[in-house]
Symmetry: C2
Subunit: 188 residues, 2 copies
């Protein structure tokens, strides 16, 4: 019989981030994360496969938003515009988590194995959008290229949102990036 | 006094790839790679920091070609065209290594830790090109976006070169990808 543990997932995520910032990622154990969250190791492993994954708990939500937005765009919408709408939707979802995102980014930047995990997660998001485009009838390589371009805009806009002035939203940076990419590719 | 070991780097790379294909990456040791190459473990570690790095021996050359091409483009050349020339130059350099690239890709695809290393290497190439663009006076985010777009084209063209008909060169696929990206970003 398992105890009812409200929001154990979120508690584990917050506890892990706290500990990674205090002691460093390498020096933190799963047992310590569970303890800080007031939960058991077993509960940790019910939610996350390892110590790295706990930093990527938002992946499923991002995946769903990107794929649903691309899939749900009307047929008349051009592939690049469908992807643009998808990355704007993700940025909007993340808008209120600027501080959490900042702390998480600091931890990831300090650890090569976390940076690698982050890159493979982004690659998975790109593949999922490419697949959603193919389902809409977009052939390759256009489907993959459009998805990759969208993820590139997302990555760079994220950095600028984090480092830039507070007045500009994540979505503002995404829209600026999309516009700039259009200009760049036009050869200006 | 060290023995003269002609092309020990290349011998280690070939030996490693052979063993990774025969036994799998995880089940191969550095000692076995050195033995197959007729060299010592010490020589291995003089060239590579670990078992993964031996698959990324071409990184420095690619880095140099990309950066030199971007840096060497006349001032009148638009940023995207400088990056386009750089990825075409890399593709041309790799053209004769299609079979080696195919075997290497198979080994990497089978191992998540190698896929992660590959992605971080590509990210490093993108950063290096972005830096070369900044040196030319291209501001951010245009510099980062242009470099990311170039690497996206490179990645996708690589897959198509590997899977596509033999008549098409890697450079052909790169040029096609660049052209498609222009069309996509124009919103067609």
């Amino acid at each position: 019989m398992s105890r009812w543990e409200p929001n154990s997932r979120g508690r584990l995520e917050r506890a892990a981030l706290e500990l990674y910032r205090e002691r460093g990622f390498d020096r933190t154990t799963v047992a310590e994360i569970a303890e800080r969250a007031g939960l058991t190791e077993r509960t940790f492993f019910r939610h996350f496969t390892d110590k790295r994954e706990v930093l990527f708990g938002g992946q499923q939500l991002l995946h769903r938003i990107l794929v649903d937005t691309v899939a749900g765009a009307p047929d008349s919408v051009a592939p690049f515009d469908a992807v643009a709408a998808a990355v704007v939707a993700v940025a909007t979802e993340m808008e209120n988590g600027r501080e959490y995102a900042r702390q998480r980014r600091e931890v990831i930047a300090a650890n090569p194995s976390l940076r690698e995990r982050e890159l493979i997660k982004l690659a998975a998001l790109s593949s999922a959008m490419a697949e959603a485009l193919r389902t809409r009838g977009v052939p390759d390589p256009a489907a993959s290229l459009t998805a990759e371009a969208g993820i590139a805009v997302f990555k760079i806009a994220f950095e600028r949102w984090q480092d830039g002035p507070r007045e500009l939203t994540f979505a503002d940076h995404i829209r600026d990036g999309l516009e700039q990419l259009r200009t760049i590719a036009a050869g200006a």
